[in-house]
């Protein structure tokens, strides 16, 4: 029997098939729901198997364990139909990952975000409003979240995220090293902070042996001094922007006073090294005895617990050092649901579960971080240092709800860098920063 299939026919058939497959591959994916009316407070459909993708960026190894061994198994008992895939990523590439995901229209269902993410994403209509869900989730109790955190995630009257972590900046100090120079209590005011930093500094000629005040180093250069500046600005009664986010306040007296205080520590008193001592692995200058005072989140305690337990009893958090007021700044990290999710109800079920008091305690307790729920203020994992920080969080300032905050950080950080390197005066640098920020606000 002879075949009718000639070489040419075969090639042509192959070509048609290729074209067809090519076109099929280029066809758009099924359009995701972009505003699915949430079935308020309800869990996922009973029998329908659902798979959720979650992106986590705020975690330690212990957090992964807590999720895998405690939180997700407990969730699976209640919602056996929902499986959860977690993608663990890192802060330094997170913005890029999420941006690409949203631009491509394929996002995780649930994701974490930093302090300034919500306005940025809300402006682009990327976040699912949660009001209808929250309204009917009585037992979950939205009122249990600290008022400032609830306000932080509310934009134009809509709740767009659920806070899960308070990243408060307060003074930290080495109790033993302060005692060495005769101080038995932490600084309560800027003047005391300056005095203690000066007294605790040890130099060998031009070289620092120990810095009285230590800027926490960061992989991202501009955050070294910027985060300290923002924390102190709150104590000076200042803000970055005016109430309606139309004017920079960087050239106002409060900002100038704060920048000048940092300049004094670095250039006048030479009690702070700029740039600071680099970390040795995960350990900062406070752990290695090269730094005495700093302004930080709970990082020193976490690192001490993991890598230098002998320093744990020596590291103490203090209430914010007061200038006009004893106040600091808090970065509030939060979960939010993508508006592109096709499974909003199931995603809410998971988010609601993770942020229940007992589950949130497991999550934040896994790396000894502060939870935003009032009922967790005295949880088992809360240490004495964390209590000090939680108290500071109650009155702490948060970032303005402006969708281009990340851009505003840059000129501010540049100005601080120029001041602390002695390249520009406080007035000139801060005025330049204010002008640059005003240009951004005017666009």
């Amino acid at each position: 029997m002879t075949s009718d299939l000639s070489r040419r026919t075969f090639l042509k058939f192959a070509g048609y098939t290729g074209v067809a497959l090519g076109l099929a591959a280029c066809a758009p994916a099924a359009t995701p729901s972009t505003g699915a009316a949430p079935n308020a407070g309800a869990a996922a459909p009973a029998a329908e198997p659902v798979k959720l993708l979650v992106t986590m960026v705020d975690y330690f190894d212990s957090t992964k364990e807590a999720l895998d061994q405690q939180i997700l198994p407990a969730f699976a008992e209640i919602h056996p139909e929902i499986t959860v895939d977690i993608n663990y990523t890192a802060w330094n590439k997170y913005n890029e990952e999420l941006t690409t995901a949203f631009a491509g229209g394929v996002t995780p269902d649930l994701m974490q975000g930093g302090a300034i993410f919500v306005p940025q994403f809300a402006y682009r209509d990327w976040i699912l409003p949660l009001d209808d869900y929250i309204e009917t989730a009585d037992e979950w109790n939205w009122e249990d979240f600290m008022p400032s955190t609830r306000d932080d995630v509310t934009i134009d009257g809509q709740v767009l995220a659920i806070p899960y972590r308070l990243d408060v900046r307060t003074p930290w100090y080495r109790e033993d090293l302060l005692a060495e120079v005769g101080y038995t209590a932490p600084p309560a005011t800027w003047a005391e902070l300056r005095e203690m930093a000066k007294a605790a500094t040890i130099r060998d000629g031009d070289e620092f042996v120990r810095t009285g005040f230590h800027f926490p180093p960061n992989t991202i250069n501009w955050q070294n001094d910027f985060q300290v500046f923002v924390a102190l600005l709150a104590a000076a009664g200042g803000k970055l922007l005016n109430e309606d986010n139309t004017q920079s306040l960087l050239a106002e007296p409060e900002s100038l006073e704060t920048a000048d205080f940092l300049r004094t520590l670095v250039l006048e008193d030479q009690s702070a090294m700029y740039p600071p001592f680099e970390n040795q692995g995960e350990l900062s200058a406070l752990h290695t005895g090269k730094g005495v005072l700093t302004i930080s989140n709970e990082g020193p305690e976490i690192a001490a617990r993991l890598y230098a337990p002998e320093t744990l009893p020596l590291l103490k958090a203090a209430p914010p050092a007061a200038n006009k007021e004893a106040r600091t700044h808090v970065w509030i990290n939060k979960f939010f649901i993508s508006k592109l999710t096709t499974k909003p109800d199931a995603t809410w079920a998971l988010l609601q579960f993770i942020t229940l008091p007992e589950q949130l305690a497991i999550y934040t307790g896994s790396f000894n971080s502060l939870a935003p729920r009032i009922s967790l203020a005295d949880a088992d994992f809360v240490t004495e240092n964390m209590r000090v920080m939680a108290k500071a969080a109650e009155t702490a300032t948060v970032y303005p709800k402006y969708h281009r905050m990340a851009e505003i950080f840059r000129p501010t950080a540049q100005a601080l860098e120029a001041i602390l390197r002695g390249e520009k005066s406080v007035e000139v640098a801060m005025q330049e920063a204010a002008d640059a920020v005003n240009n951004i606000l005017a666009e």
Binding site: R8, T99, Q120, R124, D125, N221, P275, E417, R421
Partner: protein, 329 residues
């Protein structure tokens, strides 16, 4: 299989001319017209040219989707304020105006040029120098070739970590060495005055091996008779080098200079790992600025405009190089 000429004649309409008499008959009789249409269609489908086009379709689709579309899309959004929100609009040349008037972007352009000027000439010279040395019959030649090439196959992340340690101002290897010589330590990557220099040193370390291999291949392609003739004529080693090696290597040198220049213009990994554009924007290059503007601030329109400026800068430098050489490469 369709030949190139067949495909070309098909595309240029020769096929249609051959069938013009049938078309004329069909105009008078509708049923004949339908038959002719079917016949004509079957001729088209049967033709080698059509088969060729069919096979070209997928590669062209892929090429268009992955190469041309992003470039064109990038160019188009560079004239908008596109920030991934639904409310973007055409802004004309405003993004370009901002790049050419804002100090941050002007500094990025300056830094990029400084980075290229600091790296390419020295890197090309060192690569040629080492390649020439390793082209001699020295002992351990293979070891040295491997040693110089190793940085090329080392991950950027690993390279960055090692150099970060070497250049750590507090107890790093570089400052320890300076200290042992009685010299003061430097801030290296943390000092705006030395950060770009440090970056250039690290980039040179990582790039010399790759160019060295290209030069080695070029050197081994030069006929030995030329050197023998020069030697008989009494030429000295340096004369052979300048009058034989350098001219014979000129196409290779051009290739190295152009590709190295483009690579440095596009260099991102080390900056991302080591400095993130700092300190005081001293290592803020155009590529870093594209990344920062687009993914850090989500200003994709402006980021696209910066990338167009980068592209134009590369073209402006590459075209004269090619014209100067007067040869295709």
């Amino acid at each position: 299989m369709a030949t190139f000429q067949e495909a070309r004649s098909f595309l240029e309409g020769e096929f249609w001319e051959k069938d013009s008499s049938m078309v004329a008959t069909a105009a008078k009789n509708p049923s004949v017209s339908q038959q002719n249409d079917a016949y004509r269609l079957s001729r088209i489908l049967d033709s080698d040219g059509f088969t060729a086009l069919l096979f070209l379709f997928i590669p062209l689709l892929i090429l268009g989707a992955l190469k041309f579309y992003p470039v064109v899309f990038n160019l188009v959004i560079s004239f908008t304020n596109y920030d991934l929100s639904p409310n973007f609009r055409f802004v004309g040349l405003r993004n370009y105006q901002e790049i050419l008037t804002n100090d941050v972007y002007l500094k990025a352009i300056r830094n990029t040029l400084l980075y290229v000027v600091g790296t390419v000439p020295i890197g090309t010279f060192l690569s040629l120098f080492i390649a020439t040395l390793l082209n001699q019959g020295i002992r351990g030649r293979l070891f040295f070739r491997t040693a110089f090439y190793l940085p090329v196959v080392t991950l950027v992340a690993a390279t960055a970590l090692v150099w970060r340690w070497i250049m750590n101002p507090q107890g790093g290897l570089a400052n320890t060495a300076l200290d042992s010589l009685g010299l003061p330590g430097l801030g290296w990557l943390t000092d705006p005055n030395t950060a770009m220099l440090s970056l250039v040193v690290i980039t040179l370390w990582g790039g010399i091996g790759g160019n060295m291999v290209i030069f080695l291949a070029g050197l081994q392609g030069i006929p030995s008779e030329l050197y023998e003739a020069a030697e008989i004529d009494g030429a000295r080693a340096w004369q052979s080098f300048f009058y034989i090696t350098i001219p014979m290597l000129s196409p290779v040198t051009l290739f190295v200079v152009v590709t190295y220049t483009i690579a440095i213009f596009r260099s991102f990994g080390l900056i991302f790992m080591l400095t993130q554009g700092g300190p005081s924007l001293s290592t803020n290059t155009l590529v870093w600025e594209v990344y920062q503007t687009a993914f850090g601030y989500l200003r994709f329109g402006l980021g696209a405009a910066i990338s167009v400026v980068l592209l134009l800068t590369i073209l402006l430098l590459s075209i004269p190089m090619r014209l100067f050489q007067g040869e295709d490469f």
